[in-house]
């Protein structure tokens, strides 16, 4: 009897271009909004996962393979599958919000921030499940 969708929850995207990708819920809009009359959430996810690195690779090669490409999207709850995992990454509310997604300049800045935060977390080696591609 608890609410499932909360910010910080890891979620699988079920529909759309990003189907099959893992994402974190940044902000939930349970009651919908004027533009979207259904419950939805702003999610930040991984579009292109970081590649595998091995010990044999040189440092430069490892660094280039540690990069990932994020995405930000406002998605309906019915197109998400919540998981039991959470990813506690704090995003700057000023940069990453729904309005930012409407203007190209702001959107770019928001994705850069998401990229930086995700890569930082990936390098620490935590939340490994989040950064691995879901095979299906």
């Amino acid at each position: 009897m608890g609410k499932i969708m909360k910010s910080g929850k890891v979620v699988l995207v079920l529909r759309g271009r990003y189907a099959g990708r893992k994402a974190v819920v940044v902000k939930t809009y349970d009651e919908g909004s004027t533009e979207r009359a259904y419950p939805h959430a702003l999610i930040a996810g991984v579009n292109k996962y970081p590649k595998q690195i091995t010990t044999r690779m040189g440092k430069k090669k490892q660094e280039s393979r540690n990069k990932l490409k994020p995405f930000l999207k406002v998605v309906s709850y019915s197109h998400l599958l919540p998981t039991r995992y959470t990813l506690d990454v704090t995003f700057e509310k000023a940069n990453i919000n729904k309005e930012a997604l409407k203007e190209p300049g702001k959107k770019r800045r928001a994705s850069l921030e998401a990229k930086a935060k995700f890569e930082e977390r990936y390098k620490t080696g935590k939340n490994r499940w989040f950064f691995t591609k879901l095979r299906f």
């Binding site: 009897m1 608890g2 609410k3 499932i4 969708m5 349970d30 019915s78 919540p82």
Partner: protein
């Protein structure tokens, strides 16, 4: 729950029938006095917003849908009852003329289904 086939046959069929009657009568009570939602989409919606208190799944729902509903219920800390009957029987038990594969009880009303059922089932 342990598979029922292990107990002596003489005792068993009686107990199973009693259980089935139990859940059916409790369901009719809920239909009369409580609040419920029928159908896969609505149950997921109510699981997401935390309103569902018990989820019933018919026996012949496809395994993916079944495990998805169970997973959502696990996340929402909601009980799941695997109804011993297919969707036609579950629909009849709800007093409806259509099939019901999944249903969620949001408010039990006068029924004690929430209290008694999770104790008996997995």
């Amino acid at each position: 729950m342990a598979p029922k086939a292990e107990a002596p046959a003489a005792v068993f069929p009686k107990k199973q029938k009693k259980n089935a009657e139990n859940i059916n009568s409790r369901l009719t009570m809920v239909m009369k006095s409580g609040k419920y939602v029928l159908g896969y989409k609505e149950t997921l919606k109510n699981l997401r917003n935390g309103k569902a208190q018990l989820v019933l799944i018919a026996k012949n729902t496809p395994p993916i849908r079944r495990s998805e509903s169970e997973y959502y219920a696990m996340l929402a800390k909601t009980g799941v009852h695997h109804y011993n009957g297919n969707n036609i029987e579950l629909g009849t038990a709800c007093g409806k003329l259509f099939r019901v594969g999944t249903l969620a009880i949001t408010d039990p009303g006068d029924s004690d289904i929430i209290r008694s059922m999770p104790a008996e089932t997995a």
